[in-house]
Symmetry: none
Subunit: 260 residues, 2 copies
């Protein structure tokens, strides 16, 4: 956090403001276009919008905390003495990461029993993963940081394993026109999530100081946009294709999507 | 930015406030009247409202940044030392310009494959155009400014070409009662977009100082209102006429629009 330049301060601030706009847009998109999918997929759309709404709220707080942590005057920048609140991110993830997994499970429309068991198991693992990361994030010594990193990687690895192998059979049972998108959504989740532990270990690899801090903030921001807003659009597209495959359009209640 | 008069400060501030009101009104209009068009056109209405919502958010930030950049006291005005944040505009355009092109494509209701391919191609070109403009906007020397202007004009030209010729065949396939409006929407887009590069080059033509800065701010503001809010109303009118042409009104679910 120390010794960042004014240009770096602006870069991070603009990244936060950009994210507020993206999350707001994604929320409105999910809530309005919820009526464009069959009722079976509307809970997935609701959760998608709730995830980006929660993220938008936290980015608003994060941007304000960033502003309060520095004093910009006559083209110079210095620390104000008010600490930047890193906890907002973890509070956000504690809520949104389990919801993200549940929206992915819901849009697959598995059996009722499977939906509940997978949602509970993956949701709890995700919450555990985030909760174990936090003591490491606020630790001042590298030993504690590595310890909690290692602990947090246990639920992380199980979730990745579940997305890869546990959902394999369910994905194969999906309608052909949605299978590619669902595969894409799983890969997008694994890909964007892999970014978080990389960002987490940066300070332990000796990459510290102002520039590293800027990289961490911008890095988490990009990962959040991909994992939440971009995933949300994918979830919508999956829901539209599955609604069509389910024959929901026959009733005329929903628009028949143009086909090539 | 330097040496603006109090009257110029007020003019720009009021232009920003006016734009917040316009964008807010356009957003509510799009979201409420979304239900007045056939379901096939509702995503276009959703995007129209999202574009003006994002713009309204950024104009709110821009107005606050403008206020913070000056100190007005006892009828005099001076710089506060806090820089006016020009990045809000580029962050806004990075999001809204691709969405504007996508709403135009969606309201045409092309085939699914064409919609996706045109949306991805034009959306990426638009994002590239905005991203290439920013290094020029913040450059202090005219050489760099001209370089990025030239680079940014490449995707700009391709987009204009696509709107003129790439969509020509699609426009000819539109129902007769909507064709004129869709043509109008393409022309409005090209016309309002042409304004941005003109505003961009003003400082390079020796038109600098406070008055030029005021012209730039008011100019971008007018262009944004036309390109986003006025276009949004056109998109709505197109969607209403196309809904009627599609026979959506036959069921009585939607009001029969008055015909000329």
């Amino acid at each position: 956090m120390l010794n960042i330049t004014l240009a770096q301060y602006d870069l991070v601030y603009n990244a936060f403001s950009f994210t507020i706009a993206v999350m707001g847009a994604a929320t409105v998109f999910a809530f309005l276009n919820r009526s464009q999918v069959a009722p079976a997929y509307r809970t997935a759309m609701t959760l998608t919008g709730i995830v980006t709404l929660i993220a938008g709220y936290h980015y608003f707080r994060i941007a304000n905390s960033w502003e309060a942590a520095f004093i910009v005057e006559a083209g110079t920048i210095r620390l104000s003495g008010v600490g930047f609140n890193d906890a907002y991110r973890y509070v956000d993830w504690l809520l949104t990461v389990p919801l993200l997994l549940i929206e992915l499970i819901l849009v697959m429309r598995l059996s009722s029993a499977e939906t509940v068991s997978k949602s509970v198991r993956l949701g709890l693992l995700a919450a555990l993963m985030v909760a174990l990361g936090y003591p490491g994030e606020i630790a001042s010594d590298h030993g504690t940081r590595w310890l909690f990193f290692a602990l947090s990687m246990i639920p992380f690895s199980i979730i990745v394993y579940e997305l890869f192998f546990g959902l394999r059979k369910s994905i194969e049972n999906q309608p052909a026109e949605a299978r590619g998108l669902i595969n894409g959504a799983c890969w997008l989740t694994i890909g964007s999530w892999s970014f978080y532990p990389v960002v987490f270990v940066l300070p332990m690899l000796g990459i510290e100081g102002g520039t590293a801090n800027v990289a961490v903030q911008v890095g988490y921001t990009i990962a959040d946009i991909v994992a939440k807003a971009v995933l949300g659009v994918l979830i919508y597209m999956i829901a539209v294709r599955k609604s069509a495959a389910d024959g929901a359009y026959v009733s005329g209640a929903l628009p028949i999507p143009a086909r090539a």
